[in-house]
């Protein structure tokens, strides 16, 4: 839906890194390099970024119950 504020496992705040991550990956940079430079060291935080799909734009068009 939307990037979690913190890493699920270790609790490190990660949400503020998401937009620069997306921007750089879309420019064609290597994901590994971007994550290393953003300071995502552990595989728990990295998996949140690799596995995340931003669906909020699609979901926002539907009615909330």
């Amino acid at each position: 839906m939307i990037i979690p504020i913190r890493c699920f496992s270790c609790g490190k705040p990660i949400a503020h890194l998401w937009e620069s991550y997306v921007e750089r990956v879309n420019k064609g940079e290597d994901r590994k390099k971007v994550m290393d430079e953003l300071g995502l060291q552990r595989y728990c935080c990295r998996s949140v970024f690799l596995g995340h799909v931003d669906l909020i734009d699609t979901a926002a068009q539907f009615k909330k119950f």
Partner: protein
């Protein structure tokens, strides 16, 4: 006991040090005090006056709670220790207001307006929710001091330690390449066809490999008395503040124990 600081990166909030001549009991006490007992500010209650965004009130409240707030430990008390006895006053709680009525776009943590300029979200670019045209979000949040043992959002850091690795090469190593191949921490190097230890990287050793199975002359052991300690602050407090506060709390708890023991007599 002695502490030697290895690295203090204030920008990333990372602090590492060697704890010398100590024991696992003390190291673990320190770790648990830092994670569970050092108080920080976090949003605890949220009152919504308007929310027709796609996220439910509960989800937004949960996200707000997890946002790290810069904490000033001197000017706030824990609600249970405050003079107002937990009713709520300026010394134990803080109001933050969020009003996002613009047409559309991402609502960031920086839009949370705090009544106290010293306490505000650490990371301004954290997205809270994304609004479409016509959607609005209005809320008033209450931040209080709390402890990590009650909820992880009040925990100031990620703290961990390991025994200090001791690496010895006691004689001729017949096949240095075999050691280099399995060494994923880059502790060893080959110089003049001999295996040598890269002294700068000894502490990076994770003690997970038994090199003596490959060559009896390579010994990796763990020190019983020395620890390599790592603290990764989540941003609310600096590494130094976390340790100092943890030690203050340790003192208080020991005093409390002594008091109770006196009463028991």
């Amino acid at each position: 006991m002695e502490i030697r600081v290895l690295d203090n990166n204030k920008e990333q909030g990372k602090l590492s040090f060697i704890l010398k001549d100590s024991n696992p009991i003390f190291a673990n006490t320190l770790r648990r005090l830092m994670i569970d007992e050092v108080p920080t500010m976090a949003i605890d209650e949220v009152e919504f006056s308007k929310n027709n965004s796609i996220l439910y009130d509960e989800m937004i409240a949960h996200r707000l709670g997890l946002i790290p707030l810069k904490t000033d430990l001197k000017s706030y008390n824990l609600p249970e220790k405050c003079k107002c006895e937990g009713k709520g006053c300026n010394r134990c709680q803080l109001k933050l207001v969020l009003r996002a009525t613009k047409g559309s776009g991402v609502v960031y943590a920086s839009e949370l307006k705090s009544k106290d300029p010293a306490v505000k979200p650490v990371f301004a670019e954290m997205p809270i929710v994304k609004l479409l045209k016509g959607q609005t979000l209005e809320l008033e949040a209450t931040a209080v001091l709390g402890k990590g043992k009650q909820h992880m959002k009040w925990s100031p850091c990620h703290a961990y330690y390991k025994y200090r690795p001791i690496i010895e090469i006691t004689g001729d190593v017949k096949n240095p390449e075999a050691i280099i191949e399995v060494d994923h921490n880059n502790i060893f190097e080959i110089k003049d066809r001999k295996l040598v230890v890269n002294k700068d990287r000894v502490l990076e050793c994770d003690l997970s490999l038994d090199y003596s199975q490959i060559d009896k002359n390579v010994k990796v052991t763990a020190s019983d008395t020395d620890f390599v300690f790592y603290i990764e602050s989540f941003g609310q407090l600096s590494g130094k503040e976390i340790i100092n506060k943890a030690m203050d709390i340790f003192d208080e708890q020991l005093d409390e124990l002594a008091e109770e023991l006196k009463k028991a007599k």
